[in-house]
């Protein structure tokens, strides 16, 4: 009986450093999709996502020995590189960041045009509403956006996201909570301010 085993990321990386081209290709094909989508969801730009993905693996090829398995998974390491490149790209190109600048810490929004004019939360199966949610995520400030992308869109645990963002798990948790509140407020803002305000002021009732 033949037992087929799938090599781990760390094993593939070790082979890759030794010059194994197949290991590199396998590792790339295994991880490129997530990295690409993360960069796409963070930047909203396919061009940036493509560049970031390329840079991530270029860095991996050149600095693979900097990866320490004791500090976290290779996936987290790659996402961390991608995140740094995305933020660098966003800081260079303010055209992507300008959308997010409409959000303030107190939850005020300045880009109402990004939200669909009907009730977006009423039927999220429609394509245009999905697009509204996507735009609302893209419009979040970067430090909120990245936790939403990692935890909600990439279904990472708080610990994994904390490794990527190099911060405490509690920070991830609180940021995600706040980011989701901002998203809900954004998506409900049109025509129903009462409901929105009730969402962002949850401590009125102590039943």
């Amino acid at each position: 009986m033949t037992v087929l085993t799938t090599p781990s990321d760390d094993e593939l990386l070790r082979l890759m450093v030794a010059g194994d081209e197949n290991a590199f290709v396998t590792l790339y094909r295994r991880r490129q999709g997530g990295i690409y989508r993360f960069a796409l969801q963070m930047s909203g730009s396919e061009m940036v996502a493509e560049d970031v993905t390329q840079e991530v693996f270029m860095v991996l090829m050149g600095e693979a020995k900097n990866y320490d398995p004791a500090k976290g998974s290779l996936t987290g390491y790659l996402y961390g590189i991608a995140r740094n490149h995305v933020l660098r790209s966003l800081s260079r190109d303010r055209s992507f960041v300008s959308i997010g600048e409409g959000y303030e810490e107190d939850g005020e929004t300045a880009h109402e045009q990004l939200v669909a004019q009907d009730d977006p939360l009423g039927d999220l199966t429609r394509g245009e509403v999905i697009e509204s949610v996507r735009q609302a995520v893209t419009a979040l400030p970067a430090h909120y956006r990245e936790v939403v992308v990692l935890c909600d869109l990439h279904e990472m645990s708080y610990a994994e996201a904390a490794q990527v963002l190099n911060c405490a798990v509690g920070t991830i948790r609180s940021r995600l909570h706040r980011a989701r509140a901002l998203l809900i407020e954004k998506l409900r803002a049109t025509g129903d301010p009462g409901t929105a305000s009730s969402i962002v002021n949850p401590a009125r009732c102590f039943a």
Binding site: E50, L124, I130, D152
Partner: protein, 277 residues
């Protein structure tokens, strides 16, 4: 459980994260009695569904195949030289370090145009021609020479390349910065052509029937045989400079000019000289 307590777990609750069964029961029990929290929870659940729909909408999106091809090419280049990548641009147009590369290239170009000619005129043209030993020293020649300052200022740099025209005897006596600039650019081009450079270092009669002496060392500091490359530049000197190398000079035509090739190391220091007729 009250609303405040529910708020602390509502994200995890809506995202179906791991929670104690008792906490979940308390939360749902609270929402049955608090309409506002029920609406809040419904919003969170709807948002979760929306985010999952967004995630599903891009689940099949992947990097274009050209990126893999470019990376694979870079990988092969990296493995051919003990896995130290030189940050080769797989797609040079949009790589973030491209502006820095352009800036560096511009700096090198500016240096080549403005600073290098001055260095060449100072070093090889002859201001401080300090200078070198040779693997093939010419018998009877003093290996250390100093070109008189009055003669050094008259030195005219010309590039030596494959298109040197021996019939072009008209060389301006006054140094022209434009010519030097052009010369430097051509010299820079020679740096990437080792075969041609090797030919230039051969102290024999050129294909254009120029007669040259052997390269005469200008200092003991290094051996020509140990040089890993360099540039040869054509200069013009007063014939009296031949005396400094122990070569015979007719006093009647001592004021005439004679062509010479100066061999420069990578550091820009003149290593050797040969005379051309």
């Amino acid at each position: 459980m009250n609303c405040r307590n529910l708020e602390t777990i509502i994200t995890e609750l809506a995202r179906n994260q791991m929670l104690e069964a008792r906490v979940k029961e308390d939360a749902h029990a609270h929402m049955k009695t608090c309409k506002r929290c029920a609406v809040r929870f419904a919003d969170e659940q709807t948002l979760t569904a929306g985010l999952r729909a967004v995630a599903a909408s891009v689940a099949t999106m992947e990097t274009p195949t050209r990126v893999e091809a470019a990376l694979l090419k870079a990988f092969r280049q990296g493995t051919s030289s003990p896995f130290v990548l030189t940050n080769t641009p797989a797609r040079p147009i949009r790589t973030p370090w491209l502006p820095w590369s352009i800036a560096a290239a511009a700096a090198i170009l500016i240096f080549s145009v403005f600073a290098l000619p001055r260095l060449l005129s100072d070093d090889s043209g002859g201001r401080a021609v300090q200078k070198a030993s040779n693997a093939q020293p010419a018998p009877g020649l003093s290996p250390t020479i100093t070109i008189p300052e009055s003669e050094q200022d008259e030195a005219e740099i010309q590039p030596l390349n494959a298109t040197v025209n021996p019939e072009d005897d008209v060389i301006p006596s006054v140094p022209r910065p434009v010519d030097r600039r052009r010369a430097v650019m051509q010299i820079a081009g020679l740096r990437n052509r080792p075969a041609q450079r090797a030919n230039n270092l051969t102290p024999t009669t050129s294909a254009n029937e120029e007669i040259t002496t052997d390269f005469l060392p200008l200092s003991y500091s290094s051996s020509l045989s140990q040089m890993d490359g360099g540039q040869v530049v054509r200069v013009e000197l007063p014939r009296s400079a031949l005396q400094s190398f122990g070569l015979p000079v007719n006093a009647e035509n001592a004021s005439e000019r004679v062509k010479a090739d100066v061999l420069l190391g990578h550091d820009g220091v003149a290593r050797a000289i040969r005379f051309v007729r």
